[in-house]
Structures are given as structure tokens and as C-alpha cells.
């Protein structure tokens, strides 16, 4: 949280020093995810991350009138659990970082769209269980909607909804003859500050 506060405080200072065309922002919020894996050992077993506090940082540059290309990094950290017969058991901490190269443009008024492709990396707190052979990096595709009402002369409030999708597996699951991969969908809701585009 201290790091996040430092980022938010540092942003206005950085604004004056940066090129006027660069759009950059920082947001915080929550991310929910569908299950990472399913198994059947007598009963159905599901592994699922908890609701994850989220930090998103991004920057974009215009490449056409009203359109920008940029990079957005999203960090999450949460617990993850295994569910069997309706009982959840804690499996530890799971962090992710997603890097998405994408573009954004306007929809209507101060509402804009965003979409892109990138990578997501899973970092478990402990290399054990389905992460016994380490974390996992997967391709990711996502998009979302941003709302940016003006709150200060140089800064907009930025409210964002994001959806992304990737297919999850790990080296350990593959070595144990799990086949295919699990489609994982994530939705995040975040709020933050963005440098005004005026």
C-alpha cells in the first residue's frame, strides 16, 4: 500500500516533466477470476484464486487522431484455494503480473474502449502443489472500458472495467499428464488517476 501511495503522489510531479502527448495512469481495484484448474479424485476438485487487490499502471502514445497505442501492467496478489465437496482449503499466496500491449479509442463522450494482447505470469508464494515446478507464463487477450471524468486541471479520474482471457496450465500439471489447459476469465474494476489529454 505504501508503494501504491508513493506512485499516486509521484504521478503529478512526473506529469509536468513528461511530454504532453503521453497518456499515463495508475489505478487500484479488485480482480475476480474463474477457476485455474479442475480435477477429479473421487470428487470434483477446483482451484480458484480469491478476489485480488489490483494495481494497474499504463502509458500510451497517440498513433492516429483519437487513437493511442500503449502498454498496461496489472499486478494482483491474493490467496488461492482448492474446493472439494463445498469445502475450501487455503493453498497459499498467488501473484500475477499481466503485460498487455494494446490500443484505445473513444466510444462516446468521456467513455473509451481498450483492447490488447499480452502475457500473464503467475508467481506462487511457494513452489509446491500444482506450482511445484514454478510459476507459469501464458498468452492473454483482453479489453475493457474506461470512463475519465475530469477532476483537476491536469488529471482525470479513471474508472475502468477490464475483462481478459487466457489458458492456464503449469509444468507440474503437464508432467502429471493433465491435457489441454483451463480457460480462465478475469474481470477487474479499478479506479485511479490519469493524466489529462487536453
Amino acid at each position: 500500500m505504501r508503494f501504491l501511495c508513493a506512485v499516486l503522489v509521484a504521478l503529478p510531479a512526473a506529469a509536468s516533466a513528461s511530454h504532453a502527448q503521453v497518456d499515463y495512469y495508475a489505478r487500484v481495484g479488485l480482480t475476480g477470476s474463474t477457476k485455474l484448474a479442475r480435477d477429479r479424485l473421487i470428487q470434483e476438485i477446483e482451484v480458484r484464486p480469491g478476489l485480488a487487490p489490483t494495481l494497474a499502471l499504463g502509458a500510451a502514445v497517440p498513433f492516429a487522431p483519437n487513437y493511442r497505442a500503449g502498454l498496461e501492467a496489472t499486478l494482483t496478489t491474493s490467496g488461492y484455494e482448492v474446493r472439494e465437496l463445498g469445502t475450501d482449503s487455503d493453498l497459499g499466496t498467488l501473484r500475477t503480473i499481466a503485460l498487455v500491449l494494446g490500443m484505445d479509442g473513444p466510444i462516446v463522450g468521456r467513455i473509451g474502449w481498450r483492447g490488447g494482447l499480452g502475457l500473464i505470469r503467475y508467481w506462487p508464494g511457494e513452489e509446491e502443489g500444482l506450482f511445484l515446478q514454478g510459476g507459469s507464463t501464458r498468452f492473454l487477450v483482453g479489453g475493457g472500458i474506461d470512463v475519465r471524468p475530469q477532476v483537476m486541471r491536469s488529471w482525470d479520474l479513471m474508472l475502468s472495467l477490464r475483462y481478459d482471457f487466457h489458458r492456464f496450465s503449469t509444468d507440474e500439471l503437464e508432467s502429471r499428464r493433465f491435457t489441454g489447459s483451463q480457460g480462465v476469465q478475469r474481470i477487474s474494476a479499478t479506479i485511479g488517476l490519469a493524466r489529462a489529454r487536453r
Binding site: R38, W113, G129, Y163, R167, S181
Partner: protein
């Protein structure tokens, strides 16, 4: 207000994603399990099937090791092997310094045979091992600690005795985590005269299954 062309792009993206998101990971069959439960006879002529696994509420299981014949290193390795058999944190253990606090006690020697116990033996030419469960007659509650004994049959400093002790410790810890029976396959660490030093696919699959079947035995609080 004018709607910009970005909205159709977003809807196409969402439609595409919903189409590819349904496929799920497929788990393996795990056919290669062996019987892990201990089937015992009793004076009435009937049989009883004894099965056990450590409940999540007792994890991490506390293990005490006698500091002799490199036992601490063998126990550390054996526990890591068994922990790695599981995908979902079904079994974890920690080494403790006080045997009075331990759920499992590992020592050099042979069991005293005091009182009623269920003993599970493994024997190799160089060393032997036995796991002793204190299960009072008529009870389905094991009294902790579960005691593991390993015993060299020759000069303990001989390399082959060290190797034997290492794999026998892993084998006996397999009994202590709930694999009460022996595998019929010499490629498994739970074969009665173990010769392999690593867990096989069958060992892992059997351990996984044992921890997802309701046990017939419980363990008393320590």
C-alpha cells in the same frame, strides 16, 4: 452524441473470447493405484479394512527425528518426496525438535512391541524398517505419535547401508502418512522390499487417492 467505431471492435473481441473460453483442462485417469488400505483379520473371523490420512486440520504434521545415522537428512528428503506427491496441499510436514510435540517420531532401532500395535514392516538385506501405529483394541482412533523405526543390519557407515536407510525412511514415512499396505510392484517405493529411491507414478497416484477417500481411522489430538 456520435458513437465511435471502437464499440464494434470491443463487441467483436468479447464475442470471440466467449467462444474460446469453454474448453477445460482434462485430468489424468490415475489408473495405476495399488491397494493402500490394511486389511486385517480378527478373532471373530471377519476382516476389517483400515485406512487413514492426516486431516487438513492437523497439517503440517510434526515430525521428530533422532539425530543419528544421517536420519534428519533422510527424513527431510522423504517428507519432501511425499509432500511433492500432492497437487492440492493434502499433506505437509515440518520437523520439530521436541519428540513430545511430534505426530510422527523416527528413530533408529526396532519397536519395543509394548502394548497393542499395528506394525508394518519393510525389509531389505542391508537394513529394515517398521512403522508402528498405536491403535487400542476396538478403537478406530490412532494414538499419536506414529512411530517409525529403521535399523541397519550391517556396518552403518557402509554406503549401501546409507542408501538403504534413505529409501527405507521414505518407505516408512509412506506408511506414516497413510499408505498402510505394500505395493506388489518393485518399481514403487512402497514395495515390501523397496529398491527404488524415488516415488513412482503409482506411488503418487495412490497417495493422492488415499487422501480423497474417507478414512476408517482417525487420530487422537496430540
Amino acid at each position: 452524441m456520435k458513437v465511435r467505431p471502437g464499440l464494434p471492435i470491443l463487441s467483436i473481441l468479447a464475442t470471440g473470447l466467449s467462444g474460446i473460453s469453454c474448453a477445460e483442462i482434462a485430468s489424468p485417469s490415475r489408473n495405476e493405484v495399488y491397494e493402500w488400505r490394511l486389511i486385517t483379520g480378527n478373532p471373530a473371523g471377519t476382516v476389517d479394512t483400515l485406512s487413514f490420512h492426516w486431516p487438513r486440520s492437523r497439517l503440517p504434521v510434526r515430525v521428530y527425528t533422532e539425530d543419528s545415522l544421517s536420519l534428519p537428512a533422510y527424513v527431510e528428503r522423504g517428507l519432501q518426496s511425499w509432500e511433492a506427491a500432492f497437487l492440492y496441499g493434502e499433506f505437509t510436514a515440518e520437523v520439530v525438535a521436541d519428540s513430545n510435540l511430534a505426530d510422527i517420531v523416527v528413530r533408529v532401532g526396532l519397536p519395543s512391541k509394548a502394548g497393542f500395535s499395528v506394525g508394518i514392516k519393510a525389509a531389505a538385506p542391508e537394513c529394515e524398517g517398521e512403522t508402528e501405529l498405536d491403535l487400542p483394541e476396538g478403537s478406530s482412533e490412532i494414538q499419536p505419535p506414529i512411530r517409525v523405526y529403521v535399523n541397519p543390519r550391517f556396518d552403518p557407515s557402509a554406503p549401501e547401508v546409507g542408501e538403504c536407510l534413505a529409501l527405507t525412511v521414505t518407505h516408512e514415512l509412506g506408511h506414516a502418512i497413510g499408505i498402510f499396505a505394500h505395493s506388489p510392484d518393485p518399481n514403487d517405493i512402497m514395495y515390501s522390499d523397496p529398491v527404488v529411491s524415488e516415488l513412482s507414478v503409482s506411488d503418487r497416484a495412490t497417495a493422492e487417492l488415499a487422501y480423497h477417500v474417507a478414512p476408517t481411522l482417525t487420530i487422537a489430538p496430540r
